[in-house]
């Protein structure tokens, strides 16, 4: 029976755990809402990871890690596009520009980053392909999964706590009118500023997440930070007619009769 399913029932951490314990070889394919990731393992160890929609060539990994300058990266792209990662690696080592260690460490870091991002995917489907291995021309690593599994469980706990703190993404956000809360005095990251720019009682957190291309975990993290800092508070979304209560609260439509009813309740409770 093939290993496949929904991330809601089986988390990435649980999958890594299984792959580790069963010493599996093959490729885990995870289809998230907007991207697909492929992570290859050999004997239960991480070998390779890539996200389909992103450049994962050695040159780009080394460039992102600032081991290659933009100029060097560009000329490799132009003149050495036909060279495989393995060949490029050998060239760089033979030229004395980088050591084998350097290359492997940077690749490991890159693959680990991809797994870290996968931990934030809570929606999607996965399957494990026993036969498929990383492309031959790519450089693979051998990385134990234990540390990644521990990181993943930490994130899972964080995710559970964040769900407690922000149970509904259908709430909107507004700025607090607390004196002393001043946005200009805080250091926000670019992503946080983007979220801040959408804060408005008419936008739900879910809509903000979509507009800023953040997944559920990422948006909860950012919103949680802003809530903790006392800069924003959650509020019911304004102008949303869809959530109008369908069940009647009062037995009468008449406003005066409703008020008299509440006054009767008050009198009764006072007299208890």
């Amino acid at each position: 029976m093939a290993l496949s399913g929904n991330l809601r029932d089986f988390t990435i951490t649980q999958l890594l755990n299984l792959i580790n314990l069963a010493n599996k070889t093959g490729t885990l394919v995870v289809e998230g809402p907007s991207q697909t990731a492929k992570v290859a393992f050999r004997d239960g160890k991480l070998a390779y990871a890539q996200i389909d929609q992103e450049d994962s060539s050695l040159a780009s990994v080394l460039h992102k890690a600032k081991k290659l300058s933009s100029g060097q990266y560009k000329s490799i792209q132009q003149d050495a596009a036909h060279i495989s990662d393995k060949e490029l690696g050998l060239l760089l080592i033979n030229a004395g520009y980088l050591s084998k260690e350097d290359i492997l460490t940077n690749l490991q870091q890159h693959f680990t980053d991809i797994i870290q991002r996968l931990f934030t995917w809570v929606e999607g489907f996965f399957h494990f392909d026993n036969d498929s291995l990383p492309p031959d021309d790519r450089i693979s690593v051998r990385l134990d999964l234990e540390n990644l599994i521990i990181d993943g469980s930490r994130q899972m706990r964080e995710w559970e706590q964040l769900q407690d703190e922000i149970p509904s993404l259908d709430m909107a956000l507004k700025f607090t009118d607390r004196p002393g809360a001043n946005l200009r005095n805080v250091n926000l990251s670019v992503e946080e500023w983007r979220v801040v720019s959408y804060i408005n009682p008419r936008n739900t957190i879910r809509q903000i997440a979509r507009a800023t291309k953040r997944n559920d975990l990422e948006i909860r993290r950012i919103v949680y930070g802003l809530l903790q800092a006392g800069l924003v508070e959650t509020t019911r979304r304004e102008g949303a007619s869809t959530s109008a209560p369908t069940v009647r609260v009062f037995p009468t439509e008449d406003k005066e009769k409703q008020k008299s009813l509440v006054n009767r309740l008050i009198d009764r409770i006072r007299s208890l």
Partner: protein, 180 residues
């Protein structure tokens, strides 16, 4: 006969059943069970499953029902059902158990998302010496100064009455503001 309802919610063992029992004219129709899990048993013997149900007759044609939500999270599915058509709700918080404050906050937000009715937060068990100060609770629960956070002893009828009245005053003033 006309009926209206209010919901009493809050974390496990906050005092919801006790609160309703203190003012209900009928024996609270509570669906309590002996607790089997050892960790929860250390807190109390019996817990509410499904719901509590209390009644206050106002006059010949008006009755107020009080519904208490079950404390354990596995009965969460009852919350939305119980919240339908409520006049307002009360969030009970056990002032002596800070480890439940975060959950209380989460329950508050969930109920508020179901229906935009007025609510009062009740800082219960204020008779106990381990009880937190109200203002400290306000900070940790992240309640702004407009939210009513009232000290409570659920075993004391006057204290429960005061909270029900606070909620009714909020309901009344919201109706009046709505007309302006």
């Amino acid at each position: 006969m006309q009926t209206v309802k209010m919901v009493v919610t809050g974390p496990f063992s906050a005092g919801k059943t006790e609160f309703i029992r203190s003012v209900s004219e009928i024996d609270v129709v509570s669906t309590e069970r002996k607790i089997s899990s050892a960790s929860e048993k250390s807190v109390k013997e019996a817990t509410t499953v499904a719901m509590d149900f209390g009644r206050i007759t106002v006059d010949e044609d008006l009755v107020l029902y009080l519904f208490g939500t079950p404390g354990q999270r596995r009965f969460d599915f009852m919350w939305e059902i119980l919240s339908e058509g409520m006049l307002g709700f009360i969030v009970m918080v056990d002032s002596t158990r800070p480890e439940t404050f975060r959950e209380a906050r989460s329950i508050l937000e969930t109920f508020h998302a179901y229906a935009p009715t007025p609510y009062v937060v009740s800082a219960n068990k204020q008779d106990m010496k381990e009880a937190w100060d109200i203002e400290d609770m306000r900070h940790v629960l992240r309640l702004d100064s407009k939210v009513k956070l009232v000290s409570c002893v659920a075993t004391d009828r006057d204290s429960v009455k005061a909270i029900l009245l606070e909620l009714l005053y909020s309901i009344l003033s919201e109706m009046e503001n709505g007309e302006k």
